[in-house]
């Protein structure tokens, strides 16, 4: 039968958490500078192969916003020996899926294939690390594609445009204020030459992280990597990019955006806060716990419970922390009021609940539940190898070490209720924040 005594159950917790941590992750570096992370998970005959370049939209030259993302698209347009589209066609012919993504801090390429196809993926990825090549017939229509992409994912979504406006206002100097996909008027002027210049300046084994996760033997995976990536010479053009940094923030920013497409008006605030830093993740962990307590659950978190359940003035309220950034983290807090409650009233209520939270301290029962879920999330995370691969890829791309990534759960568990309150008091500074109201035009009647 399934019943187990409580005593046995308690022992099980210890052993299962220990087992979770034992899952092997290996870190190595080739002579040409390529960093490698191998994560073994032999449950299914599948492997994820990823190459991350720790360069992204925050590294773009002036007047070329969107070039990192445009280059990501063009990386599928051929090399000296591969035809346009061949990369994806070969992945597909091998039953795999491939895609790529660009952020401010990194650009990543990945394939998910049967594990015996790993060598072929490496061969092709190593090729486009050094031999990218395409013609006008490829890059010109692709520029229209990224403009359509901007139209579809940004300009057709008022919430996305609002976020773009918030970040542009929050960052006074650092390029996190420029949208990853680029400003339309600059995207329209991007060229093949700009893309190739960006490629030549930033792509190479000495500026890349290879992550292999899934059904592989670590030693074999490392040997394969040496065979395919080892011969690529380091790119001497690669030098550290110096990004502008933020001056002191002395003035809180506020903005109002009106649009007839707004279904439910809301308030969103973004604070500039520390990101996760290598060797010192304590502040970031406290911010993460603060976000979990304030907004981690749609029912029991502080903002939802108070504003939605008890007072009935919010449809929803949220808090979240983005710490996987190289230079600055962001802490978000917001509220969508019910009809009949103005955005000013909603914002005041949110501020009041946050102030009371800092005043009254953490509910210890809620704190324990959050900790229990964090421990369990470590087990659930083992089920999703691709997501684990992304954790390491993102972490190493923003300057964390494998130990930092491995140590994140411990860092979260080390946070005390006092640390949470201190983070809320000391790290969320209204002067380093932007508060936006997204609303329908006052003159338009909807519903």
């Amino acid at each position: 039968m399934f019943a187990r005594s409580l005593f046995v159950a308690a022992l099980m917790v210890v052993s299962s958490f220990a087992a979770a941590k034992a899952s092997p992750v290996t870190h190595a570096t080739l002579d040409n500078g390529l960093e490698i992370v191998v994560i073994e998970d032999r449950r299914a005959p599948v492997v994820v192969h990823m190459v991350w370049y720790p360069v992204g939209a925050a590294d773009e030259p002036p007047l070329q916003s969107g070039i990192a993302h445009f280059l990501e698209h063009l990386m599928f347009k051929g090399t000296d020996t591969q035809a346009p589209g061949e990369f994806s066609a070969v992945v597909e012919a091998n039953g795999g899926r491939d895609n790529a993504f660009t952020s401010w801090d990194y650009t990543g390429y990945f394939q998910r294939v049967a594990s015996d196809r790993l060598a072929l993926m490496m061969e092709m990825e190593a090729d486009r690390m050094q031999n990218l090549s395409f013609t006008d017939a490829e890059w010109l229509p692709e520029r229209d594609v990224i403009l359509e992409e901007r139209g579809q994912v940004l300009e057709s979504r008022v919430g996305a445009q609002f976020n773009e406006a918030l970040l542009a206002a929050l960052f006074k100097s650092h390029p996190y204020g420029v949208p990853i996909i680029g400003w339309r008027h600059e995207m329209e002027t991007l060229t093949d030459e700009m893309a190739m210049d960006f490629y030549a300046a930033h792509y190479g084994p000495n500026n890349a992280i290879l992550v292999i996760a899934g059904d592989v033997d670590t030693a074999e995976a490392l040997a394969l990597a040496e065979t395919h990536y080892g011969p690529i010479p380091a790119n001497p053009a690669i030098t550290p990019v110096i990004r502008p940094s933020e001056p002191p923030h002395l003035a809180e920013r506020r903005l109002v955006m009106e649009d007839a497409r707004v279904g439910n008006p809301y308030v969103n605030r973004v604070y500039l806060v520390p990101p996760r830093r290598s060797g010192d993740q304590a502040q970031a962990a406290a911010l993460q716990m603060l976000a979990a307590l304030l907004g981690g659950s749609a029912t029991t978190s502080v903002l939802e419970r108070q504003l939605n359940f008890d007072e009935g003035i919010a449809l929803s309220a949220w808090a979240s922390y983005m710490g996987m950034m190289r230079d600055y983290g962001m802490f978000m807090m917001g509220i969508t009021p019910v009809e009949g409650v103005s955005l000013d009233e909603a914002e005041a209520a949110m501020d009041r609940v946050f102030a009371e939270f800092l005043e009254n301290g953490v509910d210890l029962e809620q704190f324990e539940r959050v900790r229990r879920q964090i421990r369990a999330s470590e087990i659930y995370a083992l089920d999703d190898t691709q997501s684990r691969a992304r954790q390491y890829g993102t972490g190493l791309s923003i300057g964390l070490s494998v130990e930092d990534v491995d140590g994140w759960i411990d860092a979260l568990e080390a946070v005390t209720p006092e640390d949470v309150i201190a983070a809320g008091r000391d790290l969320l500074d209204r002067r380093a924040s932007v508060t936006g109201h997204l609303t329908r035009p006052q003159t338009t009647e909807v519903n």
Binding site: A44, V113, S156
Partner: protein
């Protein structure tokens, strides 16, 4: 395509979906498919209750959605806060969702908490409280999401297509209800929806993870104690009604959303798999399909375009979607008509068939990549009426398809004269 051919020749597929399914029948007669995987100490469980929003009347449209959203808002002696706190204490991940054709429950729990989580879930399924305060709060959220949907061009396009396609059948109406019907739902309507939707006669169960068949069997009986034998009747088949033509729904924005399509292929049609293969070549939502090549890669007219066999339990259609600049809509529609006519007339090539067979058979095993995905596949295979050994023969069925088979299907499926378009936006040059 310099090197392409050579690389294709290198390909060989040793892979099968290595999935070992154990059918489980509980003492009370529930059946489930289990895939045991003991290396991580948790279990994923998936329940699909057939019926979904199709069981509700027009006047109560939205009842099943609202009811499902309320299942986690308090049950037994726990109010919404206490219920959620208990879920957190157990570190379980429970999600309820509902759609046009089904209500689904996805659960993940740590092995050592199995019985406590099952008891907690049973409370939600058998004794939801539907407290007035919870009803009002969640109703407000549903109404808010309806307001958002009313301003979302993609939703507007899908709704208009469904209405034209299926008319007065529940497939033609808005699954989430309308502001009027949702506003009018009372507690009795929700109790009705609960009684009608959650029943043993319509459940399909999949499980994967750290659990033995006899343990699963006992847990299922424990979970279903108190769940009624039968639910509400499910409506009859829906005929596809939309004729050829073009509907324009004016909407302000830089782009138009275009929904297009015509009648489809029933999911129990003996040649459904053939139609699936043809569509994967034509519009299967990946790079390299005919539609992506023609509209995105060659002409830059869109960020993405896909076509899909929308084959539901009660009716079918064949549809596609894209967003494009308002100035491009006219040329896009012309190109779609051309592609449609070309595949209906000429079918696909031997090379295209070969490539898609290789791709589909190679990609299939990659789906079974974790307890959560496996549990969900196990439930949905049963829901869709597949046999257990389908997992093992599915690739052989795809490999066995000949060019004659697929091109007979292309001629049957694609009808350029029947194409119906919905455009939501400010398209230039159309009227």
């Amino acid at each position: 395509m310099k090197r392409l051919i050579a690389l294709f020749l290198l390909v060989a597929f040793p892979l099968r979906a290595e999935v070992d399914i154990t059918p489980v029948t509980s003492e009370s007669g529930l059946t489930a498919w289990l895939v045991e995987e003991r290396s991580i100490p948790f279990v994923a469980l998936e329940l699909i209750f057939a019926g979904g929003a199709t069981i509700e009347s027009d006047a109560q449209a939205g009842a099943v959605i609202l009811m499902t959203a309320l299942l986690e808002e308090g049950a037994g002696d726990l109010d919404a806060q206490a219920f959620a706190a208990r879920t957190e204490e157990l570190a379980a991940r429970i999600s309820f969702s509902s759609g046009r054709d089904s209500v689904s429950v996805s659960v993940r729990f740590l092995t050592e908490d199995a019985e406590a989580v099952i008891d907690h879930l049973r409370l939600a399924l058998t004794e939801p409280r539907f407290d007035e305060s919870a009803i009002e709060r969640v109703r407000g959220q549903v109404l808010a999401s309806l307001r958002r949907e009313n301003l979302d061009p993609n939703t507007l396009a899908s709704r208009a297509f469904a209405r034209a396609a299926f008319g007065a059948h529940p497939y033609g109406r808005e699954t989430n209800g309308t502001p009027e019907t949702v506003a009018a739902l009372d507690r009795a309507a929700l109790l009705d929806a609960h009684q009608g939707a959650i029943a043993r006669d319509r459940v399909f169960i999949g499980a994967a993870g750290d659990i033995a068949p006899e343990e699963l069997s006992a847990l299922l009986d424990r979970l279903f104690e108190g769940i009624p034998e039968t639910g509400a009747p499910i409506p009859d088949h829906a005929e596809f009604l939309a004729g050829p033509g073009l509907d324009i729904i004016p909407f302000d924005g830089p782009q138009s959303v275009v929904a297009f399509g015509h009648d489809g292929i029933a999911r129990d049609d003996p040649d459904f798999l053939t139609a699936f293969v043809v569509n994967e070549v034509f519009g299967g939502g990946r790079f390299g399909t005919r539609l992506m090549r023609s509209l995105r890669e060659e002409r830059g007219l869109t960020y993405g375009i896909g076509a899909f066999l929308s084959s539901g339990a009660l009716g079918e259609s064949y549809q596609g979607r894209l967003s494009t600049d308002n100035a491009n809509v006219e040329i896009v529609i012309e190109l779609l008509r051309e592609e449609w006519a070309r595949i209906a007339r000429d079918g696909i090539t031997a090379e295209e068939l070969d490539r898609i067979q290789t791709y589909l058979t190679g990609a299939y095993p990659l789906r079974f990549d974790g307890n959560s995905s496996i549990a969900s596949i196990m439930a949905s295979m049963q829901y869709q009426g597949f046999d257990q050994d389908y997992v093992n023969i599915r690739n052989d069925l795809i490999r066995a398809l000949t060019l004659e088979d697929v091109n007979a299907m292309a001629a049957r499926l694609y009808d350029p004269e029947a194409l119906f378009f919905v455009v939501v936006g400010q398209p230039v040059g159309l009227n």
